[in-house]
């Protein structure tokens, strides 16, 4: 048999022939190839041509087949396995979707509650910040100025004014740049009126936020705050405004003894 398809009969005879043999066959190989390539109408040439055409045809067809669709050339068991894998993967992904959606819902409701709590806390912080003097405030109110060029007023009269303002519902009060809070105090020191450790001098300018229609009659009550001040010889003017600003602030002091009470059940 000729060695066209048997690898065992030929390779042994020419892996390393001697030098002369190599020299002899060196042009021989190329010459044989060129000879075979020369177009002749022999039977073997035609046969080789036909078979080569068949191989080329089949090769191209197969390449296009496998390039066009990977699945159509797959075996049945491969397809079944593939389908199985895809189904399992889809199931796993479905599970994951359900889990993640549950987590998302949980988080969404959680942030909703936290958001509401935060809003509430913020509002409360604002209103309490105004009442405690921690925040500047504005709103309808009155501006009062008390002129006492001779220094006849004492701390008690100014304290009267403050008490009257509080009774009339003033929510934020400022006196000569000092924010008056629940712990504010007045005292006479060497003929000077001192409020919260700050010395005051005439004119005493008050700004109070509250209902002007309540505050101004409350101050003007006969025998009340303004009457006492006028009795001492000072002059008082009161101006009702739609918008006054209390800009002075006071940092609240940390309570030294009192602690928040534990909420009871």
């Amino acid at each position: 048999m000729a060695p066209s398809d048997d690898p065992r009969d030929a390779p042994q005879d020419d892996p390393q022939p001697d030098a002369t043999g190599q020299d002899r066959s060196a042009p021989g190989g190329w010459r044989r190839l060129a000879e075979a390539l020369r177009p002749r109408l022999s039977r073997s040439q035609l046969l080789a041509g036909v078979l080569c055409a068949a191989v080329g045809f089949a090769l191209v067809v197969q390449v296009q087949q496998s390039a066009s669709d990977q699945l159509s050339s797959a075996r049945q068991e491969d397809l079944v396995r593939l389908l199985d894998e895809v189904t399992q993967r889809a199931d796993r992904l479905d599970d994951e979707v359900a889990r993640l959606e549950a987590t998302r819902d949980e988080l969404a409701s959680g942030t909703g509650q936290a958001q509401a709590a935060l809003e509430l806390a913020r509002e409360r912080a604002q209103s309490e910040g105004i009442l405690s003097g921690r925040l500047p405030a504005e709103g309808p109110g009155v501006e009062i100025s008390i002129l006492d060029p001779d220094g006849r007023l004492a701390a008690a009269q100014l304290f009267n004014v403050l008490e009257e303002l509080r009774n009339a519902g003033a929510e934020a009060i400022e006196l000569n740049g000092v924010r008056l809070v629940t712990s504010s105090w007045f005292v006479d020191r060497d003929g000077v009126i001192v409020v919260d450790d700050q010395e005051l001098s005439s004119p005493y300018r008050w700004t109070a936020i509250g209902d002007p229609a309540t505050i101004s009659p409350a101050l003007e009550i006969p025998g009340g705050a303004f009457a006492t001040v006028r009795n001492k010889g000072a002059r008082v003017t009161l101006l009702s405004q739609d918008l006054v600003q209390v800009t002075a602030v006071r940092a609240p002091e940390e309570p030294e003894f009192a602690r928040p009470q534990e909420p009871r059940e």
């Binding site: 000729a2 044989r32 078979l51 089949a58 197969q62 087949q65």
Partner: protein, 110 residues
């Protein structure tokens, strides 16, 4: 030369006609192509050895293709089709390599 022309004609015909492979033949065509390539290389080597014989070439070509396809068919019937086609491709690949090595030695002496 006619062989080269034939190869070109086959490739062009495949590109132009774009035939669909029948479903029954689909598992066997790739194996048959590899077997035919092996036969082509064997024929080229025989040519360089000076032993080329057209009858042997034809018979080896056809038997290669038929046997390869038959082995795969048998494997499919036995339920080991994919493993057997892998085995056939490996064996044919080894033969193509050794034939190509022999051709290389003939042409380049290396």
């Amino acid at each position: 030369m006619i062989a080269v022309v034939g190869l070109v004609i086959g490739v062009v015909a495949g590109l132009v006609l774009q035939p669909t492979v029948p479903v029954g033949l689909q598992p066997y065509l790739p194996i048959a192509v590899v077997a035919a390539l092996d036969a082509l290389f064997g024929g080229l080597r025989a040519l360089l050895d000076g032993l080329f014989d057209d009858k042997v070439f034809l018979v080896s070509f056809l038997s290669n293709v038929v046997v390869a396809a038959f082995i795969v068919f048998l494997g499919d019937q036995l339920g080991v089709g994919s493993q057997l086609s892998t085995a056939v491709v490996v064996v044919l690949g080894i033969r193509i390599f050794s034939n190509a090595a022999a051709i290389r030695r003939h042409l380049f002496k290396a």
